[in-house]
Symmetry: D2
Amino acid sequence: MLIHTVQIRVRYAETDQMGYVYYGNYATYYEVARAESLRSLGFSYKLLEEQGVFMPVTENKSKYIRPARYDDLLTIKVSIKEMPVKRITFEYEIYNERQKLINLGETILAFVKTVNGRACDAPDSITNLLKPFFNG
Amino acid sequence: MLIHTVQIRVRYAETDQMGYVYYGNYATYYEVARAESLRSLGFSYKLLEEQGVFMPVTENKSKYIRPARYDDLLTIKVSIKEMPVKRITFEYEIYNERQKLINLGETILAFVKTVNGRACDAPDSITNLLKPFFNG
Amino acid sequence: MLIHTVQIRVRYAETDQMGYVYYGNYATYYEVARAESLRSLGFSYKLLEEQGVFMPVTENKSKYIRPARYDDLLTIKVSIKEMPVKRITFEYEIYNERQKLINLGETILAFVKTVNGRACDAPDSITNLLKPFFNG
Amino acid sequence: MLIHTVQIRVRYAETDQMGYVYYGNYATYYEVARAESLRSLGFSYKLLEEQGVFMPVTENKSKYIRPARYDDLLTIKVSIKEMPVKRITFEYEIYNERQKLINLGETILAFVKTVNGRACDAPDSITNLLKPFFNG
């Protein structure tokens, strides 16, 4: 299992008139958490796209437990619990500054070749880096 | 059951460098679909907030089946399948211009009193309008 | 001069905790107004990109006179006051439902060839449609 | 004069199908730069709102010189060049990782009392912190 922790400060743009972070903006927080978890392995999602593989989201789920508010410094614990083959699943727990759990999320992404738009397996560039975290 | 249909044209701002609508932006499409489905009953979410009840999202799920692209005119079929008590659930099917299903979604919202932040039942102003759609 | 009028309803996602439309979201309203003004001529920005020309923004200005609020049905009057050559300038006036002016804006866009990223003149597909509005 | 430097990494959500940061998203980068420049003084915009003053934007201008792209680590140099009275003006220069200037911006904000929605002078809590930067 790979676990990585990221911090994000809530922007004014992300709040809504309820004074909460708009529910759709958590998807962006998840995206940042995914990118940073891969960066922590020395992997770059940007480079992956340049190498001809992109990762469209196929599924996303969120539970909203407590609101996040403007200027909150959120802590996102992101984890990959299974070695990716056709798809990769990221899970998230988001905590506010008082260490209260505010959000749970899960995103499933596919691997697709840019050249033909076809689904493919997780490229070696990513599985090689993940293997050490899933040793039997 | 209440079913309502809404059309939304994809904005450039909503696309990402993959050339797809960014996955987090579907939450906004769902929001528009919810608001318009209630407006079709003669109900205004804006007015509800002004009357002291707001509806924070507690859960959201999406399946991304096909991409939506810039300038696509999407059709969203939104439905309420159960009379709301403590919570209300909206389900969505999104179709592109070739009538292909591109997205499935579900959002659960609570009812909360502005004055004390406490959960409450669905207000009469909404249940009275919904009753005709759920007659035994 | 070309003048076109577009209506946009404010989404919850576009508000911030001040209860106003977030100032950055007007750029999206301008984008919709531009696309719809061109569509009114029978022109499609989407098609232009497919034909190998895109239009990056080089300058944008806004004056915020009154707030826009959730669910407001805004009217955007967009105008092109000069025949485009290297660049095209769009100007906007946004009114709320009480016909009060709430926002003034101006955007300048360039024409760039997708193939080499080089600036080019406004393509004939757009200037031919605009000519009738600028006859001496 | 107060000058402060902030770094922001471009999110996927912020790109558009041109592969650039969408022009409207710079407003959010400016917002972060403003908040962080004030935080560097020990000032919190969040606290200001809690104390009953909010700062709506009255004017915003941007020049887009080069595109910003996904995952770029941008450097924003934000400056306040004049002591605020009725309004405060922030200016921005944004550089990419190769130290190339990509964007110039300017935002003017007013001070407004939450209680009555009336314009007011810059509160002492902010002018006292700024004074040392505008001596003699």
